[in-house]
């Protein structure tokens, strides 16, 4: 919004100056812009110098974030697979680096409650597997998700999710972090003409949400809110 205000201000100033110059065509003393040769020369040199400074600054700034690269296709492939894998209970087949966190809780009581603290649906996909009695120990694994915009990964995505474990309750919270804003800067067609990249980069988004896989003993009564959507794993 403030950009538009500045733009409008510039427009008004320019029009004022133009009108004033046109009125005072014969007395260049009153003209705001001195149209003489030396001032223009210095103006031009100064402008190019400022541009040079900005170029150097831009060159220094950009290597600070080197990790922004396009997501490789193989990485995406991993995420495509792991939902069906998990839903069949094959936790072992999911690659280990996708695990964000593992918990192992000893249950005290015989009931366990899973609460969704969000106003909307869960920020992750909940997989529940009822396992045989394992001395009242419940295990959970949190698997990473992937959010892609135009083939670039949105980072800090997992910080949204907060799991709060108490003795008999798991609360899945979502931190209200400020919205992520991404800016893409690209050189237009002219610069790409020789590289034969004719089509504009398609603008697309895709996302694979994270998954929480909980193994609850069959002896424990699981209380999950009716409105919560979860997947029951049939092994």
């Amino acid at each position: 919004m403030n950009v538009i205000a500045v733009f409008a201000l510039i427009l008004i100033v320019t029009m004022n100056v133009a009108i004033r110059i046109m009125k005072n065509k014969n007395s260049s003393r009153n003209a705001i812009f001195k149209l003489n040769s030396t001032s223009t020369k210095w103006l031009l040199i100064g402008y190019v110098a400022i541009l040079g400074v900005f170029t150097i600054v831009a060159a220094c700034i950009s290597p600070k974030d080197p990790s922004y690269e396009k997501v490789a296709a193989e990485k995406i492939e991993q995420f495509v697979d792991f939902y069906p894998t998990l839903s069949q209970g094959n936790e072992e087949e999911v690659p280990a680096h996708l695990v964000e966190g593992k918990w192992s809780k000893k249950l005290v009581s015989n009931t366990f409650k899973i609460v969704n603290d969000n106003s909307y649906s869960l920020p992750l996909t909940l997989f529940v597997e009822r396992v045989e009695n394992t001395d009242g120990i419940m295990e959970a694994s949190l698997y990473k998700g992937l959010d892609i915009i135009n083939d670039y990964e949105v980072r800090d995505y997992m910080e949204d999710i907060e799991l709060e474990w108490t003795d008999d309750k798991l609360t899945i919270k979502e931190k209200k972090n400020p919205p992520i804003s991404l800016s893409f800067f690209h050189y237009d067609y002219l610069f790409k003409q020789l590289k034969e990249e004719r089509a504009n980069t398609l603008k697309h988004m895709s996302s694979h949400g994270p998954a929480l896989y909980i193994k609850v003993p069959k002896s424990v009564a699981l209380d999950i809110d009716e409105n919560t959507v979860y997947v029951i794993v049939e092994s």
């Binding site: 510039i10 031009l44 893409f184 003409q193």
Partner: protein
């Protein structure tokens, strides 16, 4: 007293030097238009926002096209203004013939185009720095390697020279005969409008012929040919131009 013999190259060089010194309005308008272009570029090309899995993600797109477009517009307008009578009479006050004036104007235009490419390319960095400061994440898609930078700058330069040559030719035609020039500009505008809508017309073929070429040498050759052709037409038209009628 004896008459001085002067060489054409000498006169052209002096005229170009004179133009660089005295056409201050052109350079000031470059600054103004580029700064304006920068401001407009910060508005971005489009944006998207998505609620996502909880957090909202907003995406904005920025590109270099507005800056390049502004520079092209600056060059177009000023090349056309170079043919008007005020500039023409200024030239003839000093040593000049029509041929030397044409050569000097083309040399001046080429140097203006060079200035335009360099400044527009460098000013994109101003945009990048501004975006770095303003946003938390800035992603530079299709960054250019060094060699790509040079070659694409050469391509940009050739395109700008083409635009200048076209503007100068149209300007000369208008100076010679107002109605023919006006009709020609109308024709070009109509053809341009048609080519946007319809694929496969001859105009489109011409545009694609130039724009879809990906070999540097061939592209430069085609553009040089087009520039030479326009230069020839300018010469034909402005050969008999009278001054101070």
């Amino acid at each position: 007293m004896s008459l001085n013999e002067v060489s054409l190259i000498d006169v052209v060089r002096k005229q170009v030097h004179f133009k660089w010194k005295s056409y201050t309005g052109i350079f000031q308008s470059l600054l103004i238009l580029q700064i304006l272009g920068l401001f407009i570029s910060t508005l971005g090309e489009g944006s998207m926002s998505e609620p996502g899995y909880g957090r909202s993600i907003s995406v904005q797109y920025y590109s270099s096209s507005i800056l390049v477009g502004m520079t092209a517009m600056w060059l177009f307008i000023n090349s056309m203004l170079l043919t008007t009578s005020a500039y023409r009479e200024d030239d003839f006050t000093f040593v000049s013939t029509r041929w030397s004036r044409l050569l000097a104007n083309f040399t001046f235009i080429i140097s203006l185009a060079l200035l335009g490419t360099v400044t527009s390319f460098l000013s994109m960095n101003v945009l990048k720095v501004y975006l770095f400061i303003k946003n938390d994440e800035l992603i530079l898609t299709n960054s250019l390697t060094f060699f790509e930078t040079i070659s694409s700058l050469v391509v940009l330069l050739s395109y700008l020279i083409l635009i200048c040559a076209a503007a100068y030719t149209i300007g000369s035609i208008i100076q010679r005969n107002k109605w023919v020039g006006f009709g020609l500009s109308m024709l070009l505008i109509v053809l341009g409008a048609i080519s946007v809508d319809y694929e496969g017309t001859p105009i489109n073929f011409l545009i694609y012929f130039i724009m879809f070429d990906s070999s540097l040498m061939l592209l430069l050759f085609k553009l040089s040919l087009a520039n030479g052709f326009l230069f020839f037409i300018s010469w034909m038209v402005s050969d008999n131009q009278e001054v101070r009628v």
